[in-house]
């Protein structure tokens, strides 16, 4: 045994560890347990080590050429040290025992903690048996199965050829793909010891059409987690048809007339409304900062009774799917709102400790340079009881938001998001395309105005930026009706 209750502080420099360099496996237990013990001996209340290895590649096709292939390899670790209410996060590229020890020492010293004296005992940290989600689900075999560089190029060039065939007034055609393979290992002084591999892929189009006066640019993206064959199964022809149709309609669209309207928001990426208007405000990070109006509303009605919403980590192959979070906790399905009543918040370890809400397997981070924070995974409004026709016939004059762009929410709960493809609704019917719309509102108000949900729940991939960086998430919803919202335009 390399860790022992008899280990003395002055023996550390003589220890020889032989961890497997190309894989995070059981051989990492002894050095990590020793470092955790060292941190505890120095007086830290809690220590977490996050190790990461990444193999990323992106590929870009423009018109009829591959113009960029960019591989990226990275390794690194983050050490988080807690003392009382304060915590410190130190990251490093050096995964050797001495490199991790130096990072730990830096974190300890920042919090005013001294390394133990040479003859002090290093407490034994008994890590659990490695919870290895990667081995359990055969994820070690994923990377070699993924598309080769040659195959990436062929698929993307087929894609841009399809765009050429389907679209008119084309000024530029782009197809983009990335594959992000990530192996993580987490060890913490509470005994957490877990490993996982994540494989995230995304492919999509960007199309710019112009006729000399009018211009329309539009993008469409598909995403997947856990399917090594994803790129081979992408239907680029169907995707090209869809984006060409949208661009054609938006090229000659009128600018939206600003004002307050009822809107119907499509399913799929329409779910960004819940992500921005409510999802972020249910993260314990927001409670800690006092930037959510929902902090003390658990058990209370915060939304229309037609609305039930979930955040979960396990939807098969969805973009925000994780087997465990970045703190080693198994992902779970979290009911956020049930028939308008707030049921749960999304909590990471720190958020749970500081706010009292139970952890939900939501501690996520972009990479080893970030400490984990409470973040969304696959977040969606559940199906309702209405048909899409019911929604449309309830609107005399409003806007159909068919394709959403991005958005954001501020410290006061005010949110906004743009609409990439919109149509005017008159007397329950779509009459003409509109462009330039941006929706703004306040979370507390808008949640009570989502009055109708149809039965056609669909999810879509997205990227979410916040305190722990940019992460892969899913948004989703059925078609929904918002009774009124401010629409910015010209």
């Amino acid at each position: 045994m390399l860790t022992s209750t008899l280990l003395l502080s002055n023996q550390l420099p003589t220890l020889q560890y032989s961890s497997t360099p190309e894989r995070f496996d059981e051989t990492w237990e002894a050095p990590l347990a020793t470092l955790l013990g060292l941190g505890r001996a120095a007086g830290a209340d809690f220590i977490e080590l996050f190790l990461e290895r990444r193999n990323y590649i992106s590929c870009l096709a423009e018109d009829d050429s591959i113009t960029s292939i960019s591989p990226s390899l990275s390794t690194g670790a983050g050490v988080r040290v807690f003392r009382g209410k304060a915590d410190c996060y130190v990251s490093t590229n050096d995964l050797s025992f001495s490199g991790l020890k130096a990072a730990l020492e830096k974190g300890l010293s920042i919090l005013g903690l001294q390394l133990p004296t040479p003859k002090a005992f290093i407490p034994e940290i008994n890590l659990e048996l490695l919870r290895d989600y990667a081995t359990k689900r055969g994820k070690d075999a994923w990377l070699p199965v993924c598309s080769s560089i040659r195959e990436m190029g062929e698929v993307l060039l087929d894609g841009t050829a399809n765009l050429k065939q389907k679209a008119s007034h084309v000024q530029s055609r782009r197809a983009t793909y990335f594959r992000d393979w990530q192996e993580v290992l987490i060890a913490a002084s509470d005994g957490t010891f877990a490993r996982d591999i994540r494989l995230t892929q995304s492919v999509g189009f960007n199309l710019l059409c112009a006729d000399g006066v009018n211009r329309a640019s539009i993008g469409e993206r598909a995403g997947n987690t856990s399917d090594a064959n994803f790129l081979r199964t992408w239907d680029s022809q169907q995707a090209a048809e869809k984006i060409a149709e949208s661009a054609g309609k938006m090229l000659y669209a009128d600018y939206v007339e600003s004002g307050t309207y009822p809107i119907i928001m499509a399913n799929h990426f329409g779910g960004v409304i819940f992500h921005e208007a409510c999802g972020h405000l249910l993260e314990t990070t927001q409670i800690e900062r006092n930037t959510t109006p929902f902090a003390d509303k658990k058990g209370e009605k915060i939304a229309h009774e037609s609305l039930t919403a979930w955040d979960e980590g396990r939807s098969e192959n969805a973009f925000g799917t994780i087997d465990m979070d970045d703190e080693g906790m198994p992902a779970q399905r979290t009911l956020l709102i049930e028939k308008g009543v707030l049921k749960n918040f999304l909590a990471d370890r720190t958020g749970s400790a500081r706010t009292g809400h139970p952890r939900t397997g939501s501690g996520r981070r972009q990479n080893y340079t970030f400490a984990a924070a409470s973040r969304m995974r696959n977040t969606y409004i559940d199906s309702g009881e209405y048909s899409i026709d019911d929604l449309f016939t309830s609107v005399d004059k409003g806007i159909y938001c068919k394709k959403m762009g991005g958005g954001s929410v501020g410290a006061t709960g005010q949110f906004n998001f743009s609409v990439d493809e919109a149509y005017l609704i008159e007397n329950g019917k779509i009459t003409k395309p509109l462009k330039g719309a941006i929706l703004i509102g306040e979370a507390k108000e808008i949640m009570n105005k989502i009055s109708m949900c149809s039965q056609d729940l669909e999810i879509a991939p997205g990227f979410c930026g916040s305190v722990s960086g940019s992460i892969y998430t899913t948004v989703g919803q059925p078609h929904i009706k918002v009774d009124s919202i401010t629409v910015g335009g010209r």
Binding site: L73, C88, S217, G406, G413
Partner: protein
């Protein structure tokens, strides 16, 4: 991290072993520390020492491959060179990126060296004081939910197999404060400010506190604004945000890719009001983060983009410069496809306006302080924007905060509709710029 000579020697040894004759490497190492506080207590301290390099390899058919890695020991560099070499066989065959012709040109103006970093305890103490002063500035200010004080040392290098070697180092310290109000019966309001300098001792923390407090307090009494067309004054930061959102106007690579609002034929055309001049000036004295060379080793410089409303030149990499038969401008990043981006804007006017305008005398103008959600509301390829903003309705010097509104328009029309460029420049993270007056824009309120 190994030093520059160790990386260079290791790269050369590995390249030779792998049969690679032509390569270049750009890399950096960053050592930074940042602190946050919350209600009088330290919240989180972050420290990192991270490095990364990007290697490019040309094969015997002169196609190029690239790989980035954070592992810069000899084994990591070998793997990166090998991966880049493999990728090179799938590289572009036309307009292949090449070494910058200026990668070995002498650099006259090298940024200053690093300054010693302050102890973490001092960072925490200074930020705690800042938070305390901000909370004391007004009873309605109940929190500073976003705050941070950081210091950073940066080392950068570029080298290539033709003998180019460039290095530079500098230090930065920065602070941001973002406070929030709560008042009975009123909506919460918020505002923030940011400061940056070479060292903690020279950092204007007091100015940051005052600006944050003044702005936040000025939003306490807010009103809705009626939808309509208004004369608009952009703060320096807001105007530079908008300019940055449409920077494809000046981007030679975007023009070659048909991803720009400009074309190669637009040089010499009047695209803006004669009152407006815009330079990209990495070496401007106010640019505390100035870098003396870009990702291809090209020295940075002052580039005239718009002079008295006329489009004068574009930003170039070595590759775009060759295709435009001109010189690179020091705006490139290394990569499989070299990207081009602005360094530091300098906006000013040399023309005489028809009339002097002032927020002290103007009636019913909208002063936009901060534009939000640019990632969503700017349609860079269409030229249009629709953005929420923080700002005030200003009437003869009296400011009334606007509760919630958006501003929308076409950026090329905005450039033409500029009626006044104020004289007093202000330093922002993206450049130096005065307030900019635009004749009329659509505002959506109630």
């Amino acid at each position: 991290m190994p030093n520059i000579n160790e990386i260079a020697n290791s790269a050369k040894d590995n390249a030779e072993k792998l049969g690679i004759k032509k390569f270049d490497i750009y890399g950096s190492t960053v050592d930074d520390t940042s602190v946050q506080v919350d209600q009088g207590e330290p919240k989180q301290v972050k420290a990192s020492n991270r490095s990364g390099v990007t290697v490019r390899v040309w094969n015997e058919d002169n196609t190029m491959g690239v790989t980035s890695t954070t592992d810069v020991d000899p084994k990591g560099l070998e793997l990166a060179l090998k991966t880049a070499s493999e990728a090179s066989f799938f590289g572009v065959k036309e307009n292949v990126p090449d070494f910058s012709p200026e990668a070995t040109a002498p650099i006259a103006n090298k940024p200053q060296d690093k300054t010693p970093q302050a102890p973490v305890a001092e960072l925490i103490e200074r930020l705690l004081v800042a938070e305390k002063e901000l909370l004391a500035a007004h009873p309605a200010i109940k929190g500073v939910p976003y705050n941070g004080l950081s210091q950073r040392d940066i080392d950068r290098f570029y080298l290539n197999s033709d003998g180019a070697v460039r290095t530079e180092s500098h230090s930065l310290a920065s602070v941001y404060l973002y406070s929030k109000t709560e008042e009975e019966g009123k909506k919460p309001r918020s505002a923030g400010a940011f400061r940056i300098n070479h060292s903690l001792n020279n950092l204007d923390i007091n100015g940051c506190i005052k600006e944050t407090a003044d702005k936040t307090i000025s939003h306490l009494n807010y009103e809705k604004i009626k939808t309509g067309k208004y004369r608009v004054v952009f703060s320096p930061e807001a105007f530079l945000s908008l300019l940055g959102g449409f920077s494809n106007l000046f981007n030679a690579q975007s023009i070659l890719d048909n991803q720009s609002l400009s074309t190669a034929d637009d040089l010499g055309k009047e695209i803006a009001s004669p009152l407006l001049s815009v330079f990209d000036d990495a070496l401007h004295p106010a640019n505390v983060g100035a870098e003396s060379f870009d990702g291809e080793g090209t020295p940075t410089r002052q580039v005239s983009l718009i002079e008295n409303g006329v489009l004068k030149s574009f930003l170039h990499s070595a590759g775009t410069a060759k295709r435009f038969n001109t010189q690179p401008t020091g705006n490139a990043s290394i990569g499989a496809k070299v990207s081009v981006s602005p360094n530091f804007y300098h906006v000013f006017s040399t023309a005489n306006p028809e009339e002097e305008l002032s927020l002290e005398t103007a009636e019913n103008v909208i002063f936009i302080d901060d534009l939000q959600a640019l990632h969503a509301g700017v349609k860079a390829l269409q030229g249009s924007f629709s953005l929420p903003f923080d700002g005030w309705l200003v009437n003869k010097g009296v400011r009334t905060s606007i509760e919630s509104a958006t501003v929308a328009g076409d950026f090329l029309e905005v450039l033409k509709s500029i009626i006044y460029v104020e004289k007093e420049p202000e330093l922002t993270p993206g450049g130096v710029c005065p307030k900019i007056w635009v004749n009329e824009l659509s505002i959506t309120g109630e």
